[in-house]
């Protein structure tokens, strides 16, 4: 299981998560949710690019990608709710580990959108 132990590892995981969700929601015919996921992906790409502050890069501990693997096989309403819940938990767990406030805020907002 890959460790989410750097700024880039966390942001790249978030970007990949939103890309997966966008594809998944498209397949499920949930166009609005797919668009929202794609919008978040683009925002996170910008956040990764603009908020990587070289002088404050620090190792990150205690996060593992395996804990946030989405189960995209269950397409039921309950399955979709579980996916959204796990995505929200991911953002809630990773945001406090990032030491750049702008990036933290973006992650928190992604989490809120998944909880809504």
């Amino acid at each position: 299981m890959a460790s989410l132990n750097t700024f880039g590892a966390i942001l790249s995981h978030a970007i990949e998560l939103e890309a997966q969700l966008s594809d998944w929601y498209t397949r499920l015919g949930e166009a609005a949710k797919a668009r929202a996921a794609d919008k978040r992906r683009k925002k996170l790409e910008r956040v990764r690019r603009e908020n990587v502050v070289e002088i404050t890069l620090e190792p990150i501990e205690g996060l593992n990608a395996g804990h946030y693997a989405l189960d995209l096989n269950d397409e039921s309403a309950a399955g979709q709710a579980a996916v959204a819940q796990l995505a929200a938990r991911f953002y809630a767990d990773v945001a406090p580990k990032i030491n750049v406030r702008a990036a933290q805020r973006a992650l928190e907002r992604c989490g809120r959108e998944h909880s809504a």
Partner: protein
Amino acid sequence: MSKTIKNYVDGQWLESGSDRLIPVQDPATCELLAHCPDSTSADVDAAVSAAREAFNEWRSTPVLVRAQYMHHFKVMVEDNFEEISRIVVREHGKTMDEARGEVRRGVESIDFAMSVPVLMRSDGLEDISSGIDETTVRQPAGVFAAITPFNFPFMVPLWFLPTAITCGNTFILKPSPQTPLSTEYLFEMLDELDLPEGVVNLVNGGVPSATALMEHPDVTGVSFVGSSPVAKIIYETCTRNGKRVQAQGGAKNYIAVMPDANIEASVSNILGAAYGCAGQRCLAAAVAVGVGDAYDQLKDELAKRVASLKVGYGLDETTQMGTVISDSAKERIESMIGQSEGEGADVVVDGRDFSVDGYERGSWVGPTLIADVQPDTTMANEEVFGPVLSLMKADSFDEAVDIINQSRYGNAASIFTNNGKHAREFKYSVNAGNIGVNIGVAAPSASFPFGGQKDSFFGDLHGQGMDSIEFYTERKIVIERWV
């Protein structure tokens, strides 16, 4: 068959006249990425000639138009951000985050150059005598060159090039022959900008091209970043040849950790400062001075966390520290660790003979922590430029400051403390050009000059900030009377 990098002269990609080629390797995989030509003085002549020819038209191009090129340039860098970062990782060996951070700081320098229309404005005074007005104007000064290092191959050229040309000068870059690929990419983007031919030029190579630039009569000024012995040579050669010069050298950066500091948070930041870019940066934390009780706490916390840093290939996002630049760098660093051991220091975490699965041929030096370093020894005084952090003990704040001020270098120094009085006293009395308070890497942003004192800097005007506007312009005083 790997490619041979070309020079970019007068708006065209040209082969160097040299038949000497320098191999460019990925230091983690040892894959041969390219060959870099060791360009000749004739190559430099062609670049300087093109830059000189382009100067008059370029200086009369409105400054707002020149700044507009920087807007387009920034967009190109943002659009290609990930690709550039990957190139930096491959040619240098650093991690993706470090490469992204480097590209980001390069973008900051482009942002700064966009403010040249404001920063080049000057002042004036009416009626300095009856009916006589006096004004100052800033004018571009001519052809400038930069000789840049391997450790930040994309960022350091951008400390100089955007501001130089937006001020109306023309420019020649000679990057490190160890890492010429991201600058090649940079020039591919500049080529897309359709700047007038000759405004920006790229000459690849080593000592012969650097010497030719420093001695060329048509080069107005030279910027350099590298080691102190070379910076001194650059400074002396350029001044002997009547040029402006800013030569940023090496460092031995100290960090004082006070007993009142939050040790855990301090160590998190110190890890990045000491082992980021595998310690190959002129602002790397080299020696942490633990004051009083802080020493043992610092040593214990660092020992625990240094050993757990993940070393690996930079393209893997989970890598926390990459390789050093070459096998010869690895040998030099390992030899210095051995020397310090011989001098009685305690190698707490030993990065010698380090290997990474799947990349066994790479130039690896593991993160190294050396304790009980004494003031008159190798690790207290010599720049390692590798992932080695030394620990020294001081009984008091004053003793820590004395230890730091004894260094012949003066690039950066930091203090970790919760005591404002100590922080203030540190800023006031430590002789270093960049001071960090609860920041291990005191790297100035683009709108501030990059400080440096003692053997860490040779020259008068530093890179970045208003110093760079001064460096790249000539002030002319105009006194007028109309009868």
